[in-house]
């Protein structure tokens, strides 16, 4: 995918030119080639997310999953590339309600995630959270938040805790192009830069805030520049190329670890499905979706490179496919057979 370069050096505001030069949105960090192991890792992780989400969609259709269910299909390269840039279990991650991919790539158990989706007792939240509310202290994953943008101050607070404890851990705070218009995002930007907090703001720009396109919702559609007035550096990233995400993630995380404060990554991505299961996505054309799938699919990109470089044969990849399908099928099986929470769970975990 040809990445639109951030428009830098504002034409209309000469006075702003020099001052913002240091923090203008940089051109994308070039994607660095992956090793064979990295390509295979990324392929497998992205495939796991896709197959898991397809299964979740299927189970939703069967009435096994209720309520809201936001699928991550199409955006897999974002979390996989970012996760490859951090120390899992030390660095924190926090995101919105479109969170299944973030959990799987953090190494959370697919059985536990799927069982939470079906509202069963072995789910990560004992069935009390659902699709949007799962957490793992072990993996330092802090949800799973249902209020658009609310995870941004929370993630900034996780970064605050890192600084308070004098660790060099970094918090990845994910949010979408829709959340980027919430006021609390800018309250967070201000404090993060003021106090030099180690937080990477990962804006997953999938072009639609539910049904409203970026052009209909955002006065400044270049989200990488949304931190300019606070002096927070930002850049646009091709979110369909996992290598580009990893390279930008490495740079942003290193910036934060070095104590230089927050960093913004606008990762341009695309969701193939509707906003949630109940969204027919009539606000965009079938052609638009099909074009993205055919020309920019993140998994296909890795797959072709693996074959091209003879790092894997068709048979090798089929084997990975089969392994992934088995994990997902087992998770689905587990999540259907696991009992519902005991009724006593209604009254537990309200206060400690």
């Amino acid at each position: 995918m040809a990445v639109a370069k951030a428009k830098v050096g504002s034409k209309s505001a000469p006075a702003a030119g020099r001052k913002t030069a240091a923090v203008k949105s940089a051109t994308s960090t070039p994607a660095e080639n992956f090793s064979k192991e990295q390509e295979l890792f990324a392929y497998r992780e992205m495939l796991l997310i896709r197959r898991f989400e397809e299964k979740a969609g299927q189970m939703y259709g069967m009435g096994l999953i209720g309520g809201f269910c936001h699928l991550y299909i199409g955006q897999e390269a974002v979390v996989v590339g970012m996760q490859m840039a951090i120390r899992t279990g030390e660095d924190q991650t926090i995101t919105s309600y479109r969170d299944h991919g973030h959990m799987l790539v953090a190494g959370m158990d697919p059985n536990g995630v799927m069982a939470e989706l079906t509202g069963r007792r072995s789910g990560y939240s004992h069935g009390k959270g659902g699709s949007m509310h799962m957490f793992s202290i072990e993996k330092q994953f802090f949800g799973g938040n249902g209020i658009v943008g609310a995870q941004v101050p929370l993630g900034t607070g996780l970064a605050f805790a890192n600084r308070y404890r004098k660790t060099d851990n970094v918090c990845l705070t994910y949010f979408g192009d829709g959340a980027a218009n919430q006021g609390q995002v800018y309250e967070s930007f201000n404090m993060a830069q003021l106090w030099k907090l180690p937080v990477v703001y990962v804006i997953e720009n999938n072009r639609y805030a539910m049904g409203t396109s970026v052009s209909r919702s955002s006065a400044q559609a270049d989200f990488s520049r949304r931190g300019v007035s606070f002096g927070i550096p930002g850049e646009k990233v091709d979110g369909m190329d996992v290598r580009a995400v990893k390279a930008a993630g490495d740079k942003a995380v290193a910036w934060c670890r070095a104590g230089k404060g927050p960093y913004i990554l606008e990762i341009e991505t695309y969701r193939y499905r509707g906003h949630s299961m109940s969204d027919p996505a009539k606000y965009r054309s079938k052609d638009e979706v099909q074009k993205m799938r055919n020309e920019h699919d993140p998994i296909e990109q890795v797959r072709s490179r693996l074959l091209e470089k003879s790092w894997a044969s068709e048979d090798d990849l089929k084997k990975i496919d089969a392994e992934v399908r088995e994990i997902v099928n087992n998770a689905a099986e587990f999540a259907q057979n696991d009992p519902e929470p005991d009724v006593s769970e209604l009254w537990t975990d309200i206060v400690k």
Binding site: F135, F142, G146, I147, A161, N190, E345
Partner: protein, 462 residues
């Protein structure tokens, strides 16, 4: 004509202050805008500027005088050519607060006796069972008790920090965090920008990571900006995570009406927060409770809403001198035992309740007064036990009547003590209106002692 210079009111709730320093002496010329004195309130030291031009004829209050009432004549200015020697040297007493002619109260308003001023009366507080016999008590303001609680807990646990607007360098908008910056450094006493939604969320995130933030809202009115983070993030995460992750955080600050600050700055959030599962809600009245319960709140693994009151900050109470005085959250205190009627209140409501109970005692009605102290979890058992004895109950609070704490108590008593009730439960609350600014209307909007007395007489059929 000599001009009287009066002790100025320098904050909405100031009733008196210390005249710490004169910057002019008798015979000095002053121009409008000259600083003539420094006055220390309970919140800050303020400079007093001359309004009129002239010569200082007399300084009536010596510097260093404490407890100078607002509107006391402190100096006299004469214009050029006037004779300074003719000026009387006696400091005039503060005139009674100018009583505007009271408008005829609307028919619907209860025929209330003149409201009693808010100054605390001497009360004997029934011994708290948690304080060992023989303990020494020290008179302490609520403000100091809160500060001491925070300081003690910050010494005890390095994960405790305090953040909010003006908490550090300014020493607290209401001086509650005074001295904390000096002792604990800017790493742990953190001035925030004016960004309630942002810092409430940030602090909640820090709590999810295991730190123990104390978030000061300059007043709880501003916490409306942050209520999504308080309820959706702080209160619900423990449940949503199946017990894996919780937020050990205290949100504290002044709540409710101050004085003459109008509708947006005068609101009691007691019943709002007490509605929310996942929160604990503490509303102390005495300094001892403020200290013991704030220490408990900071140690509590749950989000605690700690509702203080600006008017109570300056009130003094006996606080037990103990190394580590922690009170249990969720336990009401019998402020005064009695047998004829149960009066239930909390926070500043207790200022009306205590006076009413004293007045009723003179009239031969022996009321039992319960200070709830915590609104969630609510110690309804203590109320029920009392009502089983008295058969009657009156609740007192400043909040609005609909869905008030009193409404909830009435409902609980109907369910759990119906057979013991000899009269309907009555509630005395703030009036169902936004807080007006005018002094007379503000007085009418708040509950008063007369209303409490009248309600008690109604339920005791006197």
């Amino acid at each position: 004509m000599p001009i009287d210079i009066l002790m100025p009111a320098l904050s909405p709730t100031m009733e008196e202050g210390t005249l710490s320093k004169w910057l002019k002496k008798e015979g000095d010329q002053v121009k409008s805008g000259d600083v003539i004195a420094e006055i220390e309130t309970d919140k800050a030291t303020m400079e007093v500027e001359a309004v009129d031009e002239g010569t200082i004829a007399k300084l009536l209050v010596p510097e260093g005088t404490e407890n100078v009432k607002v509107n006391t004549k402190i100096a006299v200015l004469v214009a050029e050519g006037e004779d300074a020697s003719s000026v009387s040297s006696a400091p005039a007493e503060a005139p009674k607060a100018a009583e505007a002619p009271a408008a005829a109260a609307p028919q619907a308003a209860p025929a209330a006796p003149a409201p009693v001023p808010a100054a605390p009366v001497a009360v004997t507080i029934a011994a708290d069972p948690d304080i060992p016999a023989g303990t020494t008590f020290v008179s302490t303001t609520v403000r100091e008790a809160l500060r001491d609680a925070m300081a003690e807990e910050m010494r005890r646990d390095p994960d405790v920090f305090v953040m909010g607007e003006e908490v550090a360098e300014y020493q607290g908008a209401y001086k509650v965090t005074q001295g904390l910056l000096q002792e604990f450094s800017a790493d742990r006493v953190i001035d925030t920008p004016i960004t309630e939604h942002g810092f409430a969320g940030l602090a909640t995130g820090a709590a999810l990571a295991g730190l123990r933030p104390i978030v000061e809202f300059m007043t709880f009115n501003f916490a409306m900006q942050a209520i999504d983070q308080i309820i959706n993030s702080a209160a619900k995460t423990l449940y949503m995570s199946g017990g894996q992750l919780g937020a050990p955080i205290v949100f504290r600050g002044p709540n409710g009406a101050a004085a003459r600050v109008g509708a947006q700055h005068s609101q009691d959030f007691s019943s709002w927060y007490s509605h929310i599962p996942g929160l604990k809600v503490v509303v102390p009245y005495t300094a001892a409770d403020a200290k013991g319960l704030l220490k408990a709140a900071i140690r509590d693994p749950n989000p605690v809403i700690f509702l203080e009151n600006e008017i109570l900050y300056g009130h003094s109470f006996d606080v037990p001198q103990l190394d580590d005085f922690v009170l249990p959250i969720g336990k009401a205190r019998i402020h005064k035992p009695g047998k004829d009627v149960t009066v239930v209140s909390f926070g500043i409501g207790m200022t009306y309740a205590t006076k009413a109970v004293a007045e009723l005692a003179e009239q031969g009605i022996d009321a039992e007064l319960i200070d709830l102290r915590t609104l969630r979890p609510l110690d309804i058992d203590t109320v029920i036990e009392s009502v089983k004895k008295t058969g009657r109950c009156v609740t007192v609070e400043e909040g609005w009547p609909q869905n008030s704490i009193g409404s909830h108590i009435a409902s609980e008593l109907m369910e759990k003590a119906f057979d013991f009730l000899d009269a309907p439960v009555l509630k005395v609350t703030g009036k169902d209106v936004p807080m007006p600014y005018a002094a007379n209307l503000e007085k009418l909007a708040l509950p008063n002692v007369g209303e409490v007395v009248a309600a008690v007489k109604a339920v005791t059929y006197r």
